[in-house]
């Protein structure tokens, strides 16, 4: 796109800046739109599993439900508790939302369709997703109320625990791919399984790591069955208890943008991103972005399915799973995979 703006007689630097800005705005808007649609899907899937209709009043099939909800929260009054620390109270949802959008900068939707194709893309995502905890912790503290504070404590411990095992899973993927660049990781998966199946998912050494990654992604986004930060029976609504109106909506949007990000990471790291599932020529006529969206949607469906099916974990079980099961397991697999790659001469 930089060349397109250069053709208007701009210097390279300014053309690049404008092109990047246009990319950022496009992707932000698209992510926001998909978040709205995905909330609808979530509620529909949940409704179907519970044998009820789900949203079906606003618009055809209830498709405009999320937009109606958005309009509603927009028109509500923002209430700031008098004992709250005002600045941080308002900053927390903004941070959650911004961080959730910022990570999308390095997600390739198709070959070359990416805002910033940096060579430390995966590390960037790890860095940005580790910031997500600040929104929760700051809101919990600034609310000056006990339930949000408990929730913040839980969130901090939970997210840090699962980030460690996510880190090791990413190391395994990077060992196979040989690069931190997201597009490079996707291209490394081309024909990975038996020469014609695209995706690390089908590699027996990486499949257990996929399972660890998927479950850690549930915990990282505080999604059921790991939604202890907003366990209604214990903590009212957790860190969001004191929030209303747009501040609440920003948390909501940020949360779903994060869930979508984790789904697209599953797609990019294990299912071959924009590549079709198998290397058959007719499948390449379908545009890559369609494959990417289909796979991401599939993972989102899994997230909803799990939400509707599994009961919430106890907190000590959550910690045990993170530190005593996933961490040793992913460490062993790092050793195993690097040993396998050394033995097969992958690094020569």
């Amino acid at each position: 796109m930089t060349e397109f703006f250069q053709s208007f007689g701009m210097s390279y630097e300014w053309a690049w800046t404008v092109a990047t800005l246009v990319g950022i705005i496009t992707i932000s808007l698209l992510v926001m739109f998909s978040v709205a649609m995905v909330i609808y899907v979530d509620r529909k899937v949940l409704g179907a599993i519970m044998m009820r209709r789900g949203p079906n009043v606003v618009g055809p099939f209830g498709l405009l439900q999320s937009f109606a909800d958005g309009l509603k929260v927009f028109l509500q009054e923002t209430i700031i508790p008098s004992a709250a620390n005002k600045g941080i109270f308002l900053l927390a949802p903004i941070i959650t939302f911004t961080v959730a959008l910022a990570a999308w900068a390095v997600i390739p939707f198709d070959a070359g369709v990416v805002v910033s194709d940096i060579n430390v893309g995966l590390l960037y995502i790890l860095a940005i997703s580790s910031l997500g905890v600040y929104g929760v912790v700051m809101s919990g503290w600034a609310s000056n109320s006990k339930y949000p504070f408990f929730s913040a404590m839980r969130a901090a411990a939970q997210m840090i625990s699962y980030e460690v095992s996510i880190g090791f899973v990413l190391v395994c993927v990077v060992l196979f791919a040989g690069t931190f660049n997201m597009s490079g990781i996707v291209m490394a998966q081309q024909g990975h399984g038996l020469g014609f199946v695209n995706g690390f998912f089908f590699n027996p050494l990486l499949f257990p790591m996929f399972v660890v990654f998927f479950i850690s992604a549930l915990a990282e986004t505080a999604r059921a069955p790991f939604d202890l930060t907003e366990a209604e029976s214990e903590l009212v609504a957790g860190y969001q208890t004191e929030y209303s109106s747009m501040a609440f909506a920003l948390f909501w949007l940020g949360e779903y943008a994060n869930i979508l990000l984790m789904c697209s990471l599953c797609t990019l790291l294990f299912m071959g991103g924009w590549l079709p599932p198998v290397e058959w020529a007719p499948l390449y006529y379908v545009p890559g972005i369609v494959w990417f969206l289909l796979k991401t949607f599939f993972f989102f469906f899994l997230f909803s399915w799990i939400w509707a099916t599994v009961p919430r974990y106890r907190y000590d079980q959550l910690m045990r799973l993170g530190w005593k099961v996933f961490l040793p397991m992913s460490l062993i697999f790092v050793a195993l995979i690097s040993g396998y790659l050394m033995a097969t001469g992958h690094f020569s």
């Binding site: 630097e13 800046t17 620390n85 941080i88 940096i118 060579n119 430390v120 590390l123 960037y124 790890l126 860095a127 940005i128 580790s130 910031l131 905890v133 600040y134 912790v137 700051m138 503290w141 504070f149 913040a152 404590m153 901090a156 840090i160 980030e163 931190f180 000590d316 079980q317 045990r320």
Partner: protein, 207 residues
């Protein structure tokens, strides 16, 4: 042009937020300013082309260390007036540390500018490293030339970790309820745990 603007933005913000870390009255605000300072320092690293270091700075310091700081500071019950008194008392010490750091920086820069120092020239292969990304370059140095130092650092960390575990380990008190056996909990079936009884009206039931 844009690089220059970005440099002054990041550098100015680092200094401003570092000042705010010391000046703000509320320790939680201090930690948040510190996080902003780390973040902008990472921005500066990106500008000099050390993107790997920048990401590590964010992952390690912002994502882990500062979360723990915030975690601890948030739970402290702090007397803000006492904190202010401490600021005046510790001011000379702080100035002394700052002056030492400044002197060391000037000395280091002077030594570098005087020439004769070649940075990152392990095995004299600096030229070969031009085309590499900085992850590869660091990897080659860290796991090649500095492998023994790296392992020593690893062992020190391991010893520190064992030390922390030993210090905080509390053996279960005699008579206290034992630890939970997860395997046993999972293996328990409803048939073992519940019985269905159908008592006659007006009659008791014996389990």
């Amino acid at each position: 042009m844009i690089q220059t603007l970005a440099f002054y933005l990041f550098a100015g913000l680092v200094i401003a937020s570092a000042v705010m870390v010391i000046m703000s009255r509320n320790p939680v605000h201090s930690v948040l300013w510190l996080i902003l300072a780390f973040f902008n320092a990472a921005g500066l690293m990106v500008l000099v082309g050390a993107e790997f270091i920048a990401m590590l700075l964010v992952i390690v310091y912002v994502g882990a260390v500062a979360v723990l700081f915030l975690f601890v500071v948030m739970m402290l019950d702090i007397d803000f007036a006492a904190m202010r008194a401490g600021f005046i008392k510790n001011f000379p010490l702080g100035i002394a540390v700052a002056l030492i750091l400044l002197a060391e920086l000037i000395l280091g820069l002077g030594a570098y500018n005087a020439g004769g120092l070649e940075l990152a020239t392990a095995d004299g292969a600096a030229a070969q490293r031009v085309g590499q990304s900085n992850i590869e370059a660091i990897g080659v140095l860290l796991y090649g030339r500095y492998i023994f130092l790296f392992e020593v650092a690893g062992i020190i960390l391991l010893v520190a970790m064992i030390g922390a575990i030993v210090l905080t380990f509390q053996p279960p008190k005699p008579g206290a309820r034992g630890r939970q056996d997860i395997g046993k909990q999972i293996a328990r079936r409803p048939e073992d745990a519940t019985v269905l009884k159908n008592p006659e009206t007006g009659q008791g039931i014996e389990l």
